[in-house]
Symmetry: C2
Amino acid sequence: MISKNKITEIKKLAQKKFREELGLFIVEGTKSVIDLLSSQLIINELFATDEWIQKHQKSLNDVPYSAISFSELERISCLKTPQEVLAIVKIPSFDIQNIDFQKPILVLDGIRDPGNLGTIIRTADWFGIRQIVCSDDCVEMTNPKTIMATMGSFSRMDVYYTNLPDFLTSSHIHGTIYGTFMQGSPIQHIEFQLNDILVIGNEANGISEEVEALIQEKVHIPSYAISDTKAESLNASIATAIVLYQFCNKIFEK
Amino acid sequence: MISKNKITEIKKLAQKKFREELGLFIVEGTKSVIDLLSSQLIINELFATDEWIQKHQKSLNDVPYSAISFSELERISCLKTPQEVLAIVKIPSFDIQNIDFQKPILVLDGIRDPGNLGTIIRTADWFGIRQIVCSDDCVEMTNPKTIMATMGSFSRMDVYYTNLPDFLTSSHIHGTIYGTFMQGSPIQHIEFQLNDILVIGNEANGISEEVEALIQEKVHIPSYAISDTKAESLNASIATAIVLYQFCNKIFEK
């Protein structure tokens, strides 16, 4: 059983305002929760069906959990298709002072679509890139749609929110700051280094003017299209994936 | 003004059943409609605000259009954020007999998410790949979410729906049939040819067994991840993008 008050409290976490106020976010679904359980993130409370709890008892350790019915889970879910498990998790605070400048850093300037951010986190995780620096106007990592789209990768990613011009002028940066644009050096010819910084822009407007001023080399993804008419641009998460693939390819295929 | 009956009729097109029955689908938003107007697709009716019509009068030619208010557009829209223009378009029928086996063909086996299909169409269009063969259980190209995600690219793409095993055993195929799997030859080492066939599988289950039996070479996208734990897989549209990028790169960078 779950109290009416508790349901109201949890449902509030669908909204950014309350997530920030309470410092909590929601993680749903077996894949995401299993990844969460083996991460450093702190679970405040976990709700699941009896069946789910029995099956995953060993992984729960000292996580406070409650068995509730599936129809109760439906009531607290943020998703169209509710899952058998839902966890309330403390929002981690990543201090930009701890970022490792010797390792690759992906920078996102104004990514607004939660699905795009989630897909970007999942893709970065695939390629072993674990540091993402977001501009303050990026959508929050804790948005339920973002979390869902990461397919568990949120639990392995350090996501920093900060003022990008300040970050990009840090004296600790020794690599090159690359940014993707509609014009620039073709990405397949760039000799990337492990400590480079890769900047991706907003879905509609690309990289902002003040960040553009700090880009050291503009790169672009060639379309190779034979015909004149073609797509005007790539989706932001697609562009990021191609950049990360090419980046890793260049570094690890040497 | 738009009649109540007409509104009901248009709203029905949000559903696959009625799209199939009426042979019509909906295209919304300036970018998509502009691309539509310069395509071979047939517009049955176009609804837009006065302002929009005045601005785009020249492109309308003999398209039957009606000026309606923005609040009327809101009532017929399939989108959360209604647009200034909405077109009712005849569903094109692409005959698989007309496919060009000398040009690249992208094959989708069971793509279910409309956003993924739309993003795949947009990405293929970017890379100048204009032929997509979908298994019969793929989501329809005419789904409003798919159309939206293509950002106009639906108007430049030949999308065939067919039985994949039949298609993949066609005697007209002279290229190699590649499929993406979790194990296989690393994609960056494949010597692609222009007439190759590239097969992408379902979001959750990958390529189906009967299609797998017809794949001539299994390929995989390397993760290059340094750490042990990482994302289990890539989003289907992300995997497609990396395959298409690497395919074009190999062919055009020779």
